[in-house]
């Protein structure tokens, strides 16, 4: 018998890929079970919602970070949550689940498979994030200083204030609004109605940042199912179609960057086509309140009435399950497209100190 490699054709148009189902756990201050259990909850939820069997999901890809628990190979246990028997086609990135979604999108473009399961998960509660995250920085000139993201965010905040681009009251307003929005989010960890005045009365923590300008410490997971082509319409009534997806990184050296802007977000937004239409909702990875100022500018979403709703979920300030936080932004936008409250949205994820790396996605529902 003659075996023959199937011939492959030139790609002309990208395949349409949509999010057809989403799931997220609550953002827990400290989840007593392990990370695989959080993932399992999301996967079982997705399968129940869609009625799909596990083996209908042809490619699985997860984002998580071993270092959160300090444990090499911690990610291996996570396959208990997604199921790997019979053997599955899966991969893993040591990045936020948003980048796992990015890789799944690429994989679906190849045309031989149509479905993907994407996971993001993490438990920040067992370790000390401010001591772990400095290990993301240059090992020779930054990490030994214990240079943590809170300190870097403080430096960025000062730069914004010095440049006249934001005030401390602006930061407090972002926190106040995020927490108030979170009251409507059943998964949120920090949700309350606190006035700007009360927030500004709090002491500095990493001046000009106060404790409430920082994200909480959270454990959680999120998952989505991607489907390519018409099949998406069989599974979801109103799929959230990925119309643009791009990510870019900036220099690691803070002295080489303009910390008052996010050049990589602007570039990714341009390549994702954010400006090609109106934005109804934007879920933006605002880990530190000043980042909302920077990211709005970069995405072209000015503050004020009548524009896009930014972080109706409360955003990461309301719950920050590291390595799932970016994917949760996709979950929140997609949900609003599913329920018809939004037609076109932006999901954004970031990685690294002071928004060093940024991923932007445009999601749309069909009329």
């Amino acid at each position: 018998m003659t075996g023959q490699a199937p011939s492959i054709t030139r790609v002309t148009e990208p395949r349409d890929v949509a999010i057809v189902a989403v799931s997220q756990t609550d953002s827990h201050r400290s989840y007593l079970e392990g990370e695989p259990t959080l993932i399992m909850q999301c996967v079982n939820d997705l399968l129940a919602r869609t009625g799909l069997d596990r083996d209908a999901l042809e490619f699985t890809i997860a984002g998580s970070c071993d270092y959160l628990s300090g444990m090499p190979f911690a990610f291996v246990a996570n396959i208990d949550g997604v199921g790997a028997w019979p053997p599955v086609y899966e991969s893993h990135v040591e990045m936020d689940g948003a980048w796992a979604l990015n890789e799944a999108w690429f994989r679906l473009q190849c045309g031989d498979i149509d479905t993907a399961l994407v996971i993001g998960s993490g438990k920040s509660s067992p370790g000390r994030p401010r001591e772990v995250f400095p290990l993301q920085t240059d090992p020779y000139t930054m990490a030994p200083l214990g240079l943590d993201p809170v300190s870097m965010a403080g430096i960025q905040a000062r730069a914004l204030v010095d440049a006249g681009l934001a005030t401390e009251a602006d930061f407090a307003e972002i926190v106040s609004r995020s927490r108030r929005n979170a009251l409507a989010n059943p998964h949120a960890q920090v949700a309350n109605d606190t006035s700007v005045k009360d927030l500004l009365a709090e002491p500095y923590f990493a001046a000009p940042l106060r404790r409430h300008d920082l994200p909480p410490i959270s454990d959680g997971a999120a998952a989505v199912i991607l489907v390519a082509g018409d099949r998406a319409r069989e599974i979801a009534e109103r799929p959230a179609w990925i119309r643009g997806l791009d990510h870019r990184i900036e220099s690691h050296h803070p002295g080489l960057r303009d910390l008052t802007t996010s050049a990589s977000t602007a570039l990714a937004a341009k390549h994702a086509g954010v400006a090609n239409g109106p934005i109804d909702v934007a879920e933006v990875m605002v880990n530190y309140s000043p980042e909302e100022v920077v990211l709005r500018n970069a995405l072209g979403i000015p503050p004020g009435e009548g524009g896009a709703v930014v972080n109706p979920s409360g955003g990461p300030l309301a719950g920050h399950p590291v390595m799932a936080t970016g994917l949760v932004r996709f979950v929140e936008v997609a949900q609003r497209i599913f329920d018809g409250s939004a037609d076109r949205g932006v999901a954004h994820a970031s990685s690294g100190p002071c928004l060093q790396q940024n991923l932007v996605c445009v999601l749309e529902g069909e009329a």
Binding site: Q4, S7, V11, R107, Q109, C110, S351
Partner: protein
């Protein structure tokens, strides 16, 4: 539909116990620049960068795509980081290939590395605790099961250990250049995890390996012969579950079956010219020959014993010297994929397998639960019969 993709540039460092006086930036740049030079490109030509490496605790640098972005010319571009334990090098190569096959990028730089001398691999593999059994301690009992199941004679492991190190003598990049390697020396070396002797085990190495993967147009215009990536596959299973066959993991069987189907290969032993298999402990050569459908179950050791897997044999395995001769953990899987590409391009120098046209690159990881493999060919559309 997927586009074609090909390896158009290859670069690697000389693997060693401790990299020469080099920062992590310097190590990865050395491999990246060599691959770019080989491809006739500079960093500016690259559309996207993918890096892969094993647990960050090996170097104590978390999410290194962040601190290496500038060094790898990634500023203003996408950079992505894959982590699938020991198989990561091959997984990363596959991720790079799919990025080109997707049609979105035309030129992707893929770099895998480990600078494990900065830390300690045994410490990291033991989760930072005392009494770690390491990889060898985990695999040794399964190896003993293979030996008892197959009836393989005890010298098979020693034979592989010698063969791979002799091959490595022809590979200037290999870590171990054991000029006086012999069956006697292997037998006499200390027992680490019964039945594995010290000289049947891989070294701990620093090193980086890089490829540039290009689209069909890029490949046809490249200065070197492209190594067409005609198929790739990955499979994963739980590391432990009731009734698991750790000796012949189903994920490995399924992965190779999917790979061969994609490539149109019906008889891997005759249709593949040579294989770079991830063999960190000698006995994994016969075990993977069986576990990946190249030899029938129970007979892998016979192929090894016959000399067929030697450099001049009918099915050379690890002509580069393999993982037994160089093991920067995060890079090892990439090195297998890269060395397979070297073979079909005819650029493997003194360890070139004559007439190699189709080669297999393979890696495994975790508790022999992660599998990633690819087939490269000098022909973009080979027909197998």
């Amino acid at each position: 539909m997927a586009r074609r993709s090909a390896v158009v540039g290859i670069g690697q460092t000389k693997y060693s116990k401790r990299a020469k006086d080099q920062s992590i930036d310097g190590l990865v740049r050395e491999a990246a620049i060599k691959a770019l030079d080989d491809a006739g490109m500079t960093f500016a030509d690259i559309d996207a960068i993918v890096i892969g490496k094993a647990p960050d605790a090996l170097e104590g640098v978390m999410m290194p795509e962040l601190s290496l972005a500038d060094a790898l010319g990634a500023v203003g571009k996408p950079i992505h980081r894959v982590h699938t334990a020991g198989s990561v090098g091959a997984s990363t190569a596959i991720t790079g290939a799919t990025m080109v096959e997707s049609g979105r990028y035309d030129k992707v730089l893929v770099v895998c590395y480990e600078k494990q001398s900065d830390g300690n691999a045994t410490w990291a593999l033991s989760g930072g605790r005392s009494g770690g059994q390491g990889a060898g301690g985990t695999f040794a009992p399964w190896i003993r099961s293979y030996i008892s199941r197959s009836g393989a004679p005890e010298h098979i492991g020693w034979k592989v250990a010698v063969k791979d190190r002799l091959n490595a003598l022809r590979n200037p990049n290999a870590h171990l250049h054991l000029k006086d390697i012999s069956i006697e020396k292997v037998k006499e070396s200390p027992m680490l995890w019964d039945p594995l002797h010290f000289l049947e085990s891989c070294p701990s190495s620093d090193g980086a390996a890089a490829v540039v993967i290009g689209s069909e147009e890029v490949a046809l215009a490249a200065p070197t012969t492209p190594a067409w990536i005609i198929a790739h596959a990955k499979r994963t299973e739980f590391g432990s579950f009731p009734g698991r066959d750790t000796v012949r993991p189903q994920a490995g069987v399924d992965c190779s079956a999917a790979l061969y189907k994609k490539a149109g290969i019906t008889n891997p032993l005759t249709q593949i010219d040579c294989a770079e298999l991830y063999v960190p402990f000698s006995w994994y050569e016969p075990m993977w020959l069986e576990g990946h459908g190249i030899m029938p179950e129970g007979e892998g050791w016979k192929l090894t014993d016959s000399g067929a897997t030697e450099l001049t044999g009918s099915f050379p395995v690890n002509p580069s010297g393999g993982v037994l001769s160089s093991n920067p953990i995060g890079a090892s899987g990439m090195i297998r994929c890269l060395e397979a590409a070297n073979q079909v391009r005819g650029t493997a120098g003194d360890y070139q397998v004559d007439g190699a046209r189709v080669a297999l690159g393979h890696a495994y990881g975790g508790a022999a639960q992660y599998f990633a493999m690819w087939i490269v060919s000098s022909d973009p559309d080979p027909v197998f019969s």
